[in-house]
């Protein structure tokens, strides 16, 4: 039986570039911006980095193949650099590589860097791309909002929710994230919006309107990890350690099998159960102090509250409307604005989520610092589409929590 990752690895330093429309920056500048912050936080020299993982979602309009672009941009010391891609969960995947390298003893200090240059595509939204030779002949490439909008149709039908009620709950998700993002100097979208604006926005993929969709941004984020012992030897005191790190990947059951009703994320439920066990969390609704979830679309965040066992099934939309996930609610969610407003540079997003939880746990989140003393910060990073995806969950917390 695997003993899990709990408390074996500590975060030594983190950094995050300002997300947004970085018209005048290449991936290089974005990576360096996050790297400089992380290195200063970690207090190490480049020569101390034993291995690195680089995550990107899109190749063509980003850095191109291999781990070389990160090695060059950051002038890494000819160490191992591995490029990873696992749809929008790529960021957590890079973090996982670095954490596992340290946990295995193969590396003392490892780095994860995620980067994306989405604003070089020439249009809004994510670029369309092939999904493989066979898939392109028999599948529906569609758009990201179109794929996730189907969650809403199935969720609404399953639970018998009036269309307007669900639309309002989805709108609340976005209004909350805009309010949070307004307090975050690194966020892409920093303007609060009201419910009516969200409800009446142009339709993108029914029933998702413009404000139900997250920002498409440029950005980069970096995590540097090591063992708790080395962290202490480098002078760190309040350690944030990794409590759980789980990935669940669809095997085709949702799309090809029988039984999935389309209203939830099968993989998130599996990853969550494993992560809670690994972290020693028995009552997520009361123990998870902070959540950064994959709110690529408002409906995704809403059903994720149920998939993470924070809300009861079919009740997530009511919890949303009750303000449970607002900044002053019982389970603050997307305190940094989330994908919705911090932005979604694919390869960086998973690391950005951990970055926020790390800052909050250390009390370094500035204007948006949550009240009380957070113990566990959960991040949920989802790649793909509801019927075929990669769900990644990283739980970090204060050492000893």
């Amino acid at each position: 039986m695997a003993s899990g990752i709990r408390d074996k690895v500590a975060i030594l330093g983190m950094g995050c570039a300002r997300f947004g429309e970085r018209w005048n920056d290449d991936a290089e500048q974005l990576m360096v911006e996050a790297y400089v912050e992380a290195m200063a936080d970690a207090g190490i020299e480049p020569s101390q980095i034993d291995a690195a993982w680089q995550s990107v979602g899109f190749d063509a309009m980003n850095v191109g193949p291999s781990g070389i672009p990160a090695a060059i941009a950051l002038r890494l010391p000819n160490c191992a650099v591995t490029k990873v891609e696992n749809y929008c969960a790529s960021g957590t995947e890079a973090f996982r590589g670095a954490v596992y390298a340290v946990a295995s003893g193969a590396a003392d200090i490892a780095l994860a860097v995620g980067v994306e240059k989405l604003k070089d595509t020439g249009y809004g939204g994510l670029p369309v791309r092939t999904r493989g030779t066979m898939f392109d002949m028999i599948g529906v490439v569609g758009s990201a909002p179109g794929n996730f909008a189907q969650l809403a149709s199935a969720y609404q039908a399953k639970h018998g929710i009036a269309p307007d009620d669900l639309k309002r709950a989805m709108a609340h998700v976005s209004v909350k994230s805009h309010a949070n993002g307004a307090k975050n100097p690194k966020a892409h979208l920093r303007k609060p919006v009201d419910i009516e604006t969200v409800m009446n926005a142009p339709m993108i993929a029914a029933p998702l309107g413009l404000y139900d969709c997250c920002g498409v941004s440029d950005g980069a984020a970096v995590a540097i990890v090591t063992t708790p012992e080395i962290a202490r030897s480098l002078g760190k005191t309040d350690l944030v350690t990794v409590k759980a790190l789980q990935l669940a990947v669809s095997n085709g059951w949702e799309l090809q099998g029988a039984g999935w009703d389309g209203s939830y994320l099968h993989t998130t439920r599996i990853a969550a159960a494993k992560a809670y066990k690994e972290a020693g969390i028995s009552d997520p609704g009361s123990q998870v102090s902070l959540m950064e979830v994959h709110d690529c679309f408002s409906i995704t965040e809403l059903v994720t509250m149920e998939d993470l066992a924070i809300s009861r099934e079919g009740q997530g939309w009511k919890d949303v409307l009750d303000g449970r996930f607002d900044a002053d609610g019982k389970n603050p969610c997307q305190i940094d604005g989330g994908l919705k407003c911090f932005g979604h540079p694919i390869g960086a997003s998973g690391i950005r989520m951990i970055y926020e939880n790390y800052l909050q746990l250390l009390g370094r989140a500035g204007d948006r610092q949550v009240a009380g003393t957070p113990t566990f910060g959960l991040s949920h990073n989802l790649g793909g589409m509801p019927n075929q995806n990669v769900a990644a969950i990283a739980i970090v917390g204060l050492e000893g929590a």
Partner: protein
Amino acid sequence: MSGILSIGAYVPLMRLQRAAVYEANKWFAPGLRGLARGERAIANWDEDVVTMAVEAARDCLVGQDAADVSTLLLASTSAPFADRQNAGIVKEALTLPDAVLTLDVGTSQKAGTGALIQAFRSADSGCTLVAASEKRRARPASEDELANGDAAAALLVGPGEGLARFIGSHSVSADFVDHFRTTAAEFDYGWEARWIREEGYAKLAGEAVSGLLAAQGLSGLDIAHFAAAIPAKGAAGALAAKAGIAAEAVVDDLAANLGFAGCAHPLLMLAAALERAKAGEKILVLGFGQGADALLLEATGAAGQAAPAGGLTAALARSRKEENYLKYLAFAGHLNLELGKRAEFDQKPVLTALYRNRKAVLGLVGGRCTVTGTVQFPRSEISVNQNEPAIGTQEDYPFAHRRAKVLTYTADSLTYTPDPPNYYGMIEFDGGGRMMIEFTDADPASIYVGAPVRMMFRIKAHDERSGFVKYFWKAVPAAEGN
């Protein structure tokens, strides 16, 4: 003896209102006013000669054993491929065995009747599936634009009497060029209507009719159904009068609601005649183009008794009025609309992968695990069954004929489609198996969680660079009347 064993038809959903065409064009072509009545069938953007032939053939093969088909003929003057056998694509979509003869017939408006005559003549070598399908392009503001109709018919011809017994045929061939189109040309080039009417319809077609009657020792009064496919008002009636055929015997030319479907039209009119013909009644079918073919059939009355769910009547009943002439122009490829960056998605075909997966892609054949009975699309080496993922146990399992229900859906305004919004979602088939699929011929009222759908063979995408047409299956609303 050979006969027609079954018959099927397909007419696309949309009926372009001719008044809307005239309204848009009258500033330029006021002379079209006289033609601005009724409606014509227009293909959706994802339909062509191949897809319509497939649907007509599927309609024809309901209740028939496809394994009996030894030959497949596809007649058309507007097929998408000049060198890739169009009939071969139809064969794959119908999942006919590889051991069949497939053949394209074309280049004349009498190609449909010619193919049919050949099928009757070769009935001693097994069953022939004859499909005739047309989606003829016409210049905007032309008479043909108003007169044409997109549609397909299919007949299963073989030994025995079936619905109608083949008695004989008489052909007249002459290089009478009423219109032509070279292989390089986009549109037809035509000659004066009066000349065509007098020298073509009256004389050449008249000779085919009189020749057939003389050869069979019959008089015009012996003909109960005169299915003369001639795209000129009153021409068939004049021909009947001259041949001594009763005016009541002249079969309606479907001009009011369908339009003239080129070389498929005689077969569509035959389908109409067969639906009404009583046992023993004689049907004369006429196809015109560089001469004329005349065929004589004797109905057995079985067509009326069988009362199939499909057929021409059902195909015509499935209809939706379309008043948007610009939409028609766009679908027919006459307008260069701004498609947006998302239309730049690379649609380059992968011909190796298409060939090895042709059963799944063109035939919608999935897999069934012989151990657990789990069905799935596409089939795979390891079964999707979560409890018993057996390896290498799957056999072919066709889905195309199965009805399905909508599990999830969206109407996507972001993703590129020639007919926004793009409806797609997950469906689950009766008997199991599911897939993510595009919906077509859809509207907001017909697509919802639990909505019934059925499968149709359609164009998935065009590769703008190579011109290749990618085909796959889509789900269409299947509520009553659809």
